[in-house]
Symmetry: C2
Subunit: 143 residues, 2 copies
């Protein structure tokens, strides 16, 4: 995914700081979502823990990133598709959480719709499939 951090920050009226740029760069490196601890490990020397928290929060608020919780309650972040906004996260796609390598993929698969019971109004629907990802499936075959 090719992103332009400077432009993203401008679009959302956020100050352009090197920490904010670095976070976006790091997350954009992979289409796979990256976890908070991984980010912290990668950026820990350059960016303070607290600052990282704050940057991730503001990015989520603005709809720049979206946050996916894995089964351990760890936050994972991925760049939102361009149609996201602060009001409405367009994260109605399927996440695939590999139980071997723990990576979270954003799958390009339509979310099947299901009707809610009477009285319940759904805003967003999130589907996460747990299983073995392509890479780990291949790794098993090799051994």
């Amino acid at each position: 995914m090719k992103i332009d951090p400077t432009n993203i920050l401008k679009e959302h009226a956020l100050k352009h700081t090197k920490q904010r740029v670095r976070v976006l760069e790091e997350i954009a490196l992979d289409t796979v979502a990256i976890s908070q601890p991984e980010l912290e490990k990668k950026l820990g020397k350059e960016i303070d823990r607290v600052t990282l928290y704050r940057i991730l929060n503001i990015y989520e608020d603005k709809g720049i990133l979206h946050r996916i919780m894995d089964m351990n309650g760890t936050a994972n972040y991925a760049i939102c598709s361009s149609s996201c906004s602060a009001e409405h996260h367009h994260d109605e796609h399927i996440h695939f959480n590999c139980t071997t390598c723990n990576k979270i993929y954003c799958l390009d698969v339509a979310v099947p719709h299901s009707t809610m019971p009477k009285g319940f109004t759904a805003k967003t629907v999130n589907t996460t499939a747990y299983g073995i990802c392509e890479k780990c499936n291949l790794a098993v075959k090799k051994n």
Copy 2:
């Protein structure tokens, strides 16, 4: 939901202790999932924090409870339907997470199936809808 703690414990070859019974009783009170902090608040006088963690973990392992993470990374617990086992959690239903009261409902709605991309093998699929639950929707209308 009518459950028999003594029987459940026996079925899973778990020792019958008053703490374990209390946890099951408390969770069975409501069809809605209960969060770890809520449980802790309710049982904190009777059961030690650590013991509670351990009981919840063992119940999850055995397939007696299933754990649903809410968007804050907080664990919520609900009694598994009888078809659950240690090997295979039958949690292929839809959860509804109310963004107002934060409660998580286990909806009795079939999970729509979606096909995984080539190379990905899914074991379980979890769908969570976020929105306003029946109770909170009614509460709004009243005001």
